[in-house]
Each structure stands twice: as structure tokens, then as C-alpha cells.
């Protein structure tokens, strides 16, 4: 019999990737395409969902070709996606009503303030595990319902559908207007503010609170399950899993036991800790979320610390300032100097997420003197990711009562050695990268492979995990403390920048 493989689709914030993995979890081929970032107004971030679908139509067959693998050799497809990005489309034509509103978008700030002032607002976090913030999907759905004439009526009649990117891709893969499956998985649903964290169902009180009609919502399913069979792009192949990208990375790092954690560095940075079968409530600004649900088994929960801007700051340095030509050049530029020269950048582009949750904060560059060069700025860019990690690790330690002993990392930024060393230095723990840096994709593949029996169980997957690199802390403790102090003072300067309209 011909060798069989699993294909993953990682629909990320900056690009979409298809990767084919073999049974040992080794990468066989990879194709990738970036999509455009639209910034129509300050604080607004949008993606064209049709562009993303077209990208997938192109790169999926390319990945097969590159690997020399036929469709019949693909045991299953697993999907991981940027979370919370909100799309509404027409069920009959398949055409999106607007561009997708991306998770970093803060257009719903006023709406969220208004909702938060209502007496029932305290119910939200209890029910769904998340604070009421612009980061999540429900306020965006509401914003669209208010903004697009006639949309509410059409949504109530079930003529338009809501979904995050995995729903959009699954619907299109399984036929689109012609019988496409409208579903989401528990991890993605847990990011909407609309799902009850314990029943794993859409919650009527939350739907009422946000004014979202149930008819437009996808069906909630486990993360690994054969949802159906693709009818286009990869016709005949089973779709075996969908997970939010951060949960997929938790899975790909094989953090299957309570107490195991990882941090993924892409556009944003996301630290997730497996907390087992029970949702743990945070008292230090972390989120309670679903980690994964394997078939009919009970869901596994996680504590999560999202950092809104890590790689996005590098991206801004490249595209917004034009100081580098490619993201990796940030390391080259940062290495032209020995330290930050006293300069700190706090990238509160969309407010600050964990552990601060300050939506009114905006970014600052502090400590500027005429001594500062673009090299110092580049260093401050990388250090911003390291110090933000320190803040969320401190919060995670406080919440869990455990001290993190080693940080498992993955994502595009782990190719940056200076950054990885810097993270080890400021955390004072070793930083470890696994053999597959594309852990999001690997996690989606693992989940899909489990669903169809390509891999027998979680323990087998664990044996595929190997250390590819390790960075050991080497920073003078006194310097670490004084730098952390500077960082904290810089963070305070971002607070309260946006003022309510007078």
C-alpha cells in the first residue's frame, strides 16, 4: 500500500500554509501564501476572506505536488486558524458581506464599553471564561448586525452565516452554497463570548446579551472528529480536525498533561497552560479557554495569556517604518548594537491584552535620546516580546501556584536566536524549541490523524516530540531586575492614552 500522510491547513494572521506530514510527524512539503492586511482606519484590521480561500485553492494542490503525493494518500486534513476573526457571509451565494474583522481590530471599543455598563455584564466572564473585550468575536458580530442595513433580519432568517476562519474554510471545502457544512469546533467557539464553558453549547443569555441570532451560528463540534469529506480543492479527503491556532500549538507540543505549557510567537504571542478536565478561573488577568476536545471525550481546558503584538511589531518595523526589508533582518539590525541604549517600545497597538487588559492604552517609545539609532530600536522591538512574555509568565505562575521550569516555544519568531536568548535571559529559565517549529500545523495534523486512526493515541504522539534547540539564561540578575523595572515604567506610560469622546 502506498504511504499515507496527513495534511494541515494553518490559516494564520499573516499567511495561510499547507503542510504534509508523515507518520513520524516529519514535514514532507510546505506551501505558503501571505494575504493582504487592510488597515482602513486607525484601530481597524481586515482580511479579505475570498483572497484567503483563493490562496488555499492554490497552495493545497501545490503541497501535494511538491511532496509527490496523490489525493488518495492523504488520510485526513486538519485545520488550524487565526481565532476570533469574524466573518459573515451569504448562505446562498457564498459571498462575504464585508471583509473579515481581524482579532486585533478595536472598532468595537465604544460598543464594548456600553455593554460593560449593563448590569448583566458580570455574567459574561462567569459563563464563558473570557473578559468582555474587543478581542473576541461577539461584539464584532453585533457591530456588523448594527452596521449593515437589513443584516439582522437576514441573520434571523438564517440567510447569512457567521463563522471564524475554520468555519469559512470547512463550509467552502464541503460544497459552499451547495450543501456546505456550517460548523465550528469547541476551541474556536470558546473564543466568541457566546459559548457556555461547561456545557460547550451556545448560551441563550449570552446570545441575548450581545443580540446575536442563533440562526446564524455554526454547530459546535469536538476538535477532532470526521466532520465530513471535502468536495473541492482536495475532493474526497476527510476533514478530521479543527482547532484555534494556539490550541493547535498546545496539541502539537504534546502538552497533554495538566501543568504542561507552551508559548507560540507569531503575529501575537500566546502562552497556554493545560489545566485538565476542569476550567480554572484566573485572578491574574488570564483567560479560561478550551484546550481541545478529542472526539466524545470530555474537553480539556487551558489557562491562556494572549499578548496582542509580538511579530506584528516586527512587521510594523518592516512595512510601517521601512527600516528593514524582511522580518529576520530585525536580528541583524539589533546585533549592530550591544544593548537597547535606554530605549523601550511598548506595542500597545490594540490596547494591551494579558495581564493588563487595557483597551485605552496605546503604544509608546520611551527613553529616546539623540544617542538612539535604528539598531537600538530593533533591539527594543525584540525585547518588547521578551518582557511581555515575562509579564504573562509571572501572571501564570501566580495563578497556577507553580513555577514554570522551562518554556516550550514555537512559531515564526523562534527562528530569531537573539530573541530566544533574550527570552531565556529575562525569564531566567531555559527556552526550548521542538523539532517542528510549525507546531500549529503539526497540532492540526495530529488532531486530524487521531480522528481517522492514522495515529492511535496521544502517547504515541508524545514520542515524536524532540528538542531541536535550547537557550540557557545568561543575564546578570541585577541587570534583569533594573531592566524589568524600566519595562514596567514604560508600560505604565501607555495607560489612559485614549480618552472617552467628549
Amino acid at each position: 500500500m502506498a504511504t499515507r500522510y496527513v495534511m494541515s491547513i494553518d490559516q494564520g494572521t499573516t499567511s495561510t500554509r499547507c503542510i504534509i506530514f508523515d507518520q513520524q510527524g516529519r514535514l514532507v512539503s510546505v506551501t505558503q501564501r501571505e494575504h493582504r492586511q487592510h488597515f482602513p482606519q486607525p484601530g481597524w484590521v481586515e482580511h479579505d476572506a475570498v483572497e484567503i480561500w483563493r490562496n488555499l485553492e492554490r497552495i493545497a494542490p501545490e503541497a501535494l505536488r511538491q511532496a509527490g503525493v496523490g489525493l488518495e494518500q492523504v488520510a485526513a486534513i486538519g485545520i488550524a486558524n487565526q481565532r476570533e476573526t469574524t466573518l459573515v457571509w451569504d448562505r446562498n451565494t457564498g459571498v462575504p458581506l464585508r471583509r473579515a474583522i481581524v482579532w486585533q481590530d478595536t472598532r468595537t471599543t465604544a460598543l464594548v464599553d456600553e455593554l460593560a455598563a449593563r448590569p448583566e455584564a458580570s455574567m459574561v466572564q462567569k459563563r464563558c471564561g473570557l473578559p468582555l473585550a474587543t478581542y473576541f468575536s461577539a461584539p464584532r458580530i453585533r457591530w456588523l448586525l448594527d452596521d449593515v442595513p437589513g443584516l439582522r433580519e437576514r441573520a434571523e432568517r438564517g440567510e447569512v452565516l457567521f463563522g471564524t476562519m475554520e468555519s469559512w474554510l470547512i463550509w467552502n471545502l464541503t460544497g459552499g452554497p451547495d450543501g456546505g457544512l456550517h460548523l465550528t469546533d469547541v476551541t474556536n467557539a470558546s473564543r466568541t463570548l457566546l459559548m457556555d464553558l461547561t456545557t460547550l453549547e451556545w448560551d441563550d443569555d449570552l446570545l441575548d446579551f450581545f443580540g446575536v441570532p442563533r440562526a446564524m451560528l455554526p454547530q459546535i463540534r469536538p476538535s477532532t472528529e470526521t466532520y465530513g469529506v471535502a468536495r473541492t480543492v482536495l475532493p474526497g479527503v476527510r476533514i478530521g480536525a479543527a482547532l484555534g491556532d494556539q490550541q493547535a500549538a498546545l496539541f502539537g507540543q504534546t502538552c497533554f498533561a495538566p501543568g504542561e505549557a507552551k508559548c507560540t510567537y507569531g503575529t501575537g504571542g500566546f502562552l497556554l497552560l493545560n489545566t485538565g478536565k476542569d476550567p480554572v478561573r484566573s485572578t491574574h488577568g488570564l483567560l479560561t479557554t478550551v484546550g481541545y476536545q478529542v472526539g466524545a471525550e470530555p474537553a480539556v481546558y487551558a489557562l491562556e495569556a494572549p499578548i496582542a503584538v509580538t511579530g506584528a511589531l516586527v512587521q510594523w518595523f518592516r512595512d510601517g517604518l521601512g527600516l528593514i526589508n524582511s522580518a529576520p533582518e530585525i536580528e541583524t539590525l539589533a546585533k549592530t548594537v550591544d544593548d537597547n541604549g535606554g530605549c523601550y517600545i511598548v506595542p500597545a497597538f490594540a490596547g494591551l491584552f494579558a495581564p493588563h487588559w487595557r483597551s485605552e492604552a496605546r503604544g509608546v517609545i520611551v527613553g529616546l535620546t539623540s544617542y538612539i539609532t535604528k539598531g537600538h530600536l530593533a533591539r527594543a522591538v525584540l525585547e518588547a516580546t521578551a518582557w511581555q512574555t515575562r509579564e504573562v509568565v509571572d501572571a501564570m505562575n501566580a495563578d497556577s501556584g507553580l513555577d514554570l521550569r522551562v518554556l516550550k516555544v514555537d512559531g515564526g519568531m523562534t527562528a530569531d536566536n537573539l530573541l530566544m536568548q533574550c527570552i531565556a535571559d529575562v525569564l531566567d529559565v531555559p527556552v526550548v524549541r521542538p523539532m517542528v517549529a510549525e507546531t500549529v500545523s503539526l497540532g492540526a495534523a495530529y488532531a486530524a490523524g487521531l480522528a481517522v486512526g492514522y495515529w492511535p493515541d496521544l502517547e504515541g504522539l508524545r514520542r515524536n516530540w524532540h528538542r531541536a534547540a535550547q537557550w540557557l539564561p545568561a543575564m546578570d540578575p541585577a541587570r534583569r531586575e533594573s531592566e524589568y523595572d524600566n519595562w514596567r515604567r514604560a508600560v505604565e506610560r501607555t495607560f489612559g492614552w485614549l480618552q472617552p469622546r467628549r
Binding site: 514535514l27 529576520p328 541583524t332 515564526g412 523562534t414 527562528a415 523539532m435 517549529a437 528538542r467
Partner: protein, 255 residues
Amino acid sequence: MPGPVQSIQRGAAILRLLARSSGKLGVGEIATSLGLPRGTAHGLLRTLQLVGFVEQDSATGKYQLGAALLHLGTSYLDVNELRSRAINWADALAARSCESVKIGTVLDGQVLVVHHVFRPDDTLQTLDVGSLMPMHATALGKVLLAFDSGAGAALGNGPLEAFTRRTIVAPKDLTRSLAGIREVGWAAQVEEMTVGEAGIAAPIRGHGGLVVGAIGISGAVERICDAKGQPNTALVTFVRDAARAVSRDLGAARW
């Protein structure tokens, strides 16, 4: 002898035109100035853009000379970018070969290690990124010497340093060995640097086939070589496939 290549002449004319003009030029202006059909000018510009010799303003669509022209001859591909672009394939090579992987480039007559993936056995290993190795006694170095005619200049004409009894020390022996490497497209080193260790490496090529680095594995000689002391052919294939995959991603069309 064949005559001059027309598209190279035209490309050169575009570069001269852009260098001479003070602002940026649109494709129409360029086509008219050089008397070229618009489509031809556009095709040439696209290729020049691909190799970094011209840049296009995303707002106006106009063209100017690219940054790559300014440091022609110095750094062709940023080493950190090389690592970012190669990381997936380096991981896969380590997983397949069960050996540690390194990627090297030339720095002042030595091999600079720009990327290192541990041997996937979870034993204690330390990251070697940033360290320097001799060119003539490593597989990575010999690949770089074989395919980059400038790289050898720093070695001089005298005898080379011996690290073991098997190190190639005579310049004429090295020259012969490099010719062989160019012929087969990969290099091996068997106990030439350290007794008991061996390595295999192949070239990473960028646009136009220019060698920008080398990728290879190294480890205990009894794992890297077969019973006859020859590099294991399966491992050679893994290394060459990984080098080709990285090269393809970097835009080297033929590999």
C-alpha cells in the same frame, strides 16, 4: 561564440535609466524611453525586482533601483533570513537522518554557523550558532569552497592546518577534492576535523543558482559512514534533498 544576450542588454539599459533619473519611473516611461513594448519592459522589471535590483513603490507602482544593488558583492542574503527560510527543512533533515544539522556561510575565510538543529535524541547538546569552523576540514566548508571561488582566497597558498591525520593539508589535494565535490554536488568529511566524527553537506542556492550557504549533518563516523568507511548513501540523499528544498524556497528555479 554566441552573440550578446538581448534581455541582459535591455535589463542593463533599464538599470542605467533608473540610475540616471532623479525620481521613480513608471513602466510606461521606461518602455517609451528604451523603445520597448510595454509588456517586454514589464517582464524585465518583474525579473529585476525578483532579484532585488529594482524596487516598486507600492503606492504609485513606479520603479527605482533596489537596495540589493548598493551592496552587490557584500552580503547577498541576510544570514538570519537564510535561517528563517531554511528552518523547516533543517528540522525535517534532522528528524530523517537522526543527526544534528548545521547551516553555514562564509565569513572571512571560515565557516560561520548560522543555524543548528540538535540531534533528535534529547541528549544534552549546546547551540553552536555563531561559532566558526575551518573551511578545509568540514563538509560545510568544503562545499562553500567548491562553489564560491572567492571563498578560498583567505586560505593562501601554504600548507593548511592539520586537525587529524586525515585533514587535507596540501593545497593541490584540496583543489582536487573540490573539483570532485563540484562534480557530484555534495561533500563529505571523514575524521578530517575530529577523530571519530564525519559529516555530509550540500550547497544551498539562491536566485540564479548562486550558492548562498551549505547545509549538512555531522555525527559519529560509524553512523554517517557505511562499513567501508564511505558516506551512507541514504544520508547523502537526505542532505541533498534538504538542500534542494531550501534552494527551491529561495527561488533557485532549477533546484
